[in-house]
Amino acid sequence: MNSEALKGHLDLLVLAIVSGGPLHGYGVIERLRDRSGGSFDLAEGTVYPVLHRLERAGLLQHEWSDSSGRRRKLYALTAQGQARLVEQRQGWREFVDAVDSVLRRNPWPQTA
């Protein structure tokens, strides 16, 4: 999967993953990779700016924990983040449906 193509959708994907419960950055990356069957595999350092930006936007909040014996930053969705996730999920479905129906009406390997 082209990492440029992934970038535009990273916010939605990260929100969706974090909505499953408090998670640290490493966990987000792991789940992103696992749930995409290994397709979404990005330079791991690039996920943190996304998490920090989403937090700054009020969509995520964090808490520090030391249950692992190290200081660990755990992210969770805020109410605003939850609302944004619902909204973006809906937007994505509409987009995919629209693209699908365009592709169906005009079968792709068609030569004009």
């Binding site: 640290h24 950055g25 490493y26 330079a43 791991e44 350092g45 690039t46 943190y48 700016p49 920090h52 930006r53 937090e55 700054r56 909040q61 964090h62 808490e63 520090w64 924990s65 030391d66 249950s67 692992s68 190290r70 200081r71 660990r72 930053k73």
Partner: protein, 271 residues
């Protein structure tokens, strides 16, 4: 350990790339946790420690580049938040010293231990206790901020309890029933929250979780006993103040030492 230093070296370089970021220690802690988690995961499947660290670092990205990415998002905390969090160690050390001095001063200010009590002694001890309460409150606020990253409702309530206790101690230091339970409540509340966060050790969090409420309740009991039994309980009052002081000194010193050690281990690179 040569293998261990790979991640440390990486963090050093990353740290120099994040100069000027007040929340650098937090950023580095977050990256450190990631790198150690990744390396441990690889080691668990049989990769040797050094290779595991190399791979974890390679996957994370070139440090200068990552530092640039991380610092491209402005830090969330405002100046006040960062101040409390950044100077937590020094504040804890100051609070420990103040409690030590205040406990001794209270012996001479609350009781006539050497037969030469003066009201000046009492006033001095009251001021010292009030200062100790105030600085301890700053530590409690710092611990809350480190755990939550922002002034939330509970942090503000804890700060209010602490400031009230300092004010009450200044005006009515002898009446421990007014200020000691307030301070005990602020400490207990913070410790209940700190159980999940890193600041302070687990042992001291538990000790304070038990000791602070007990001392708070005892200070009410002793005062009521003094009222009804008309007993002279000034030594008991002093003992409770000193007891609270002793537990806090131990916990605050532990916190200060831990934070100082964490800085010297290279998690926060000198600017």
């Amino acid at each position: 350990m040569a293998a261990d230093s790979l991640i440390d070296e990486y963090l050093q370089v990353l740290g120099t790339g994040m100069r000027g970021r007040r929340d650098r220690a937090d950023l580095l802690d977050e990256v450190a946790d990631h790198l150690h988690s990744a390396a441990e995961r690889l080691e668990a499947v049989g990769v040797d420690p050094e290779t595991a660290q190399r791979r974890a670092l390679a996957r994370f990205g070139e440090p200068r580049l990552v530092a640039g990415l991380l610092t491209s998002v402005p830090s969330k905390g405002n100046l006040v938040t960062l101040f409390f969090s950044r100077h937590l160690g020094a504040t804890a050390a100051l609070a420990a010293v103040l409690w030590a001095v205040a406990s001794v001063a209270a012996l001479y200010g609350f009781t006539d231990v050497d037969g030469a009590w003066t009201s000046d002694r009492y006033l001095l001890s009251a001021m010292l206790i009030s200062a100790a309460c105030l600085v301890t409150t700053a530590v409690l606020v710092g611990m809350n901020l480190r755990a939550t990253g922002a002034f939330d409702g509970s942090t503000i309530a804890i700060a209010a309890l602490g400031v009230l206790s300092a004010a009450a101690a200044l005006v009515l230091a002898w009446a421990i029933i007014f200020w000691l339970p307030l301070l005990a409540a602020a400490v207990t509340w913070t410790m209940a929250r700190a159980r999940r966060s890193h600041a302070g050790s687990r042992t001291f969090v538990l000790v304070l979780l038990v000791a602070a409420p007990l001392i708070g309740i005892a200070s009410i009991a002793v005062t009521l006993l003094g009222q009804f039994a008309e007993a002279n309980l000034e030594f008991a009052g002093w003992a409770l103040v000193a007891g609270m002081g002793a537990v806090l000194i131990a916990a605050l010193a532990d916190l200060a030492v831990r934070l100082a050690r964490r800085v010297s281990r290279g998690h926060a690179v000198p600017a």
